[in-house]
C-alpha cells in the first residue's frame, strides 16, 4: 500500500506538460506582450503629460499665492500705453510689456531671476526688449524656466520662433474671440480679483496650454505664413513699433490666448490661417490641459463643444457649464 502511493506520487512529479498547455501559455505570453508593446510609447507620453500637469499646478498655486500677497491676480501684461498713443511709445518709458508669468516669478521660487530682471530693466522703466531705450533685449529674457515648459512640446525651452526668448507653453486665459473681449483673467493691465470670477473659480479657466510645434490641420498651404502654433514667451509681449489690428504696440498673443464661441480659436485647430497664433493647442494626443481658477488641472478633449469651451473661458457669463 505504501509503496504504491510512493509510486503514484513519483509518476505525478515526472509528468511534463502537454502540447495544449504549452500552446496556451505561449498564447497568453503573446497576448501580454501585444498589450505591452504599443503601450510603452503611450506610457512615456502619459508621464510627460503628468509632468506637464504638475507645471500647470505649480503655476496655478503660484498665482494663488500672488493673489494672497497682492490681493489681486497679476496683470496679463503691463503697458503704460494700452491704446497705443504715439507720444509715450516714442519715449519707451514704462511701456515694459512684462507678462503675468514674469511678475509671478517670486511665487514659483524664481525670486533671484525676478530681481535680476528688475535691475536689467532699470526698475521696469523700459520695455524688456529695449534695454535703456535701445533695441537689445534683456539677457534674462533668454533664460529657460522648466516650470513654463511642457515636456511633450518638441520646441524646447527657448522659443526658436520668437528670437530664442524663453518659451512659455502656458498662456493666460484672455477670454473669448478678441483682445477687446476682456472676460478672461489676463489682458493688458488687468486687475482681476478672486471675487470678480463670479462663475466660480472651478468653472473658469486660468492658464491654458499652447504648443510650439503642432500644426493647424485645416490650413491647406503654409506658403506665406506659419501654419503651426508657436507657443508663447514667459517674459512678456514683444515690442511692436506700430499698432496693427489687435496689437496695440506689443504682441499680446505672446502671453495671452483666446477661446471658444468662434471656430477660429478651437483646441488644436482653426478655420483661419492666422488662428493658430491666438488659440490653444498641445502635443498631447486628443486635447490639452488647463488650470482652472481654483488651481485644479484638467484635461480637455479637443472635441469639447464650442459653447462649453466658451463658457469655461469666461469668468462672468453666468451660464451653467455643461459637463466636459
Amino acid at each position: 500500500m505504501v509503496s504504491r502511493l510512493v509510486f503514484v506520487r513519483k509518476s505525478n512529479l515526472r509528468r511534463g506538460f502537454t502540447l495544449v498547455e504549452l500552446l496556451v501559455v505561449i498564447a497568453i505570453i503573446g497576448v501580454m506582450v501585444g498589450l505591452l508593446l504599443p503601450a510603452v510609447q503611450a506610457a512615456r507620453e502619459a508621464a510627460r503629460r503628468m509632468s506637464c500637469s504638475n507645471n500647470l499646478k505649480q503655476i496655478a498655486l503660484g498665482l494663488h499665492n500672488y493673489h494672497d500677497t497682492h490681493r489681486v491676480f497679476p496683470p496679463g501684461y503691463l503697458d503704460s500705453d494700452p491704446n497705443y498713443a504715439a507720444v509715450s511709445q516714442g519715449l519707451l518709458q514704462n511701456v515694459n510689456g512684462l507678462a503675468w508669468s514674469a511678475l509671478m516669478l517670486p511665487f514659483i521660487e524664481q525670486a533671484p531671476l525676478y530681481d535680476q530682471l528688475g535691475a536689467e530693466t532699470q526698475q521696469y522703466a523700459f520695455h524688456w526688449e529695449r534695454v535703456a531705450g535701445g533695441t537689445a533685449a534683456v539677457p534674462t529674457a533668454r533664460v529657460a524656466i522648466n516650470t513654463y515648459n511642457c515636456p511633450s512640446d518638441t520646441l524646447g525651452p527657448l522659443n526658436s520662433k520668437r528670437s530664442n526668448f524663453g518659451t512659455n507653453n502656458y498662456l493666460g486665459n484672455s477670454g473669448n474671440a478678441a483682445a477687446i473681449d476682456r472676460n478672461g483673467i489676463f489682458w493688458v493691465n488687468s486687475r482681476v480679483l478672486m471675487r470678480d470670477i463670479t462663475d466660480g473659480t472651478s468653472n473658469t479657466a486660468m492658464v491654458v496650454e499652447r504648443s510650439g510645434t503642432r500644426r493647424n490641420p485645416n490650413v491647406p498651404t503654409c506658403a506665406t505664413v506659419a501654419c503651426d502654433w508657436n507657443a508663447g514667451l514667459w517674459i512678456g509681449a514683444r515690442y511692436r513699433g506700430d499698432s496693427v489690428g489687435w496689437h496695440p504696440g506689443v504682441e499680446s498673443t505672446d502671453i495671452d490666448s483666446y477661446g471658444g464661441g468662434n471656430a477660429t480659436y478651437l483646441i488644436n485647430r482653426s478655420n483661419q490661417t492666422w488662428g493658430n497664433s491666438w488659440g490653444n493647442s498641445s502635443n498631447h494626443p486628443g486635447g490639452l490641459q488647463w488650470a482652472l481658477c481654483d488651481a485644479s488641472v484638467r484635461f480637455v478633449s479637443e472635441t469639447i463643444d464650442m459653447i462649453t469651451y466658451r463658457d469655461v473661458r469666461r469668468r462672468n457669463d453666468g451660464n451653467v457649464v455643461a459637463e466636459y
Binding site: V20, I28, M32, L35, P217, V219, Q272, T303, M306
Partner: protein, 131 residues
C-alpha cells in the same frame, strides 16, 4: 485536464479584453462626409473658409480650392461634419487677423450673422453654395 480548460478559458477571456482595448477608434461618432462647391455670382470662389457648426457645438471646416471645391474635416481629423442641422459660415481666409475696419467681401449674412442652415444626413452629402 481541468487545469488546461481553465487556462484556455483565461486566455480566451484575455484575448476578448485586449480586443476591447484596441478597437477604440479616433474617428468622431455621428459624422457624415460633406463636400461641395462654392460659387460667387456663378464663378467658382477659391480660398474661402467654410465652417459647419452643429447644434451640439461641434465645428467642421474646409477651404475651397481653385475650382471652388471643399471637403469638411471635423475634430480629430475625421472627414465630415456632425449629422443634424448645421449653421454654415463662409468667410475669406486671411493670413493675418483682420485689421480694424476690415470688411469681408462675403456678406455678413453668410458668416458673422449667418442664417444659412443645412441638414447633414448619414452617408455622403453634397452642399453647393452660390453667394
Amino acid at each position: 485536464m481541468h487545469k488546461v480548460s481553465l487556462l484556455v478559458l483565461f486566455s480566451l477571456a484575455s484575448i476578448v479584453c485586449v480586443t476591447g482595448c484596441f478597437s477604440s477608434s479616433t474617428e468622431l461618432p455621428n459624422t457624415a462626409k460633406v463636400n461641395g462647391t462654392v460659387t460667387v455670382a456663378g464663378s467658382p470662389a477659391r480660398n474661402l473658409s467654410i465652417t459647419f457648426e452643429s447644434e451640439g457645438g461641434q465645428a467642421a471646416f474646409g477651404v475651397t480650392d481653385d475650382s471652388g471645391n471643399y471637403e469638411l474635416t471635423a475634430a480629430a481629423g475625421t472627414k465630415g461634419a456632425e449629422i443634424g442641422v448645421n449653421t454654415v459660415r463662409i468667410e475669406t481666409m486671411l493670413d493675418a487677423p483682420a485689421p480694424a475696419g476690415y470688411k469681408d467681401p462675403i456678406p455678413a449674412k453668410y458668416n458673422k450673422e449667418s442664417t444659412l442652415k443645412v441638414t447633414v444626413e448619414a452617408g455622403e452629402n453634397t452642399h453647393n453654395f452660390d453667394l
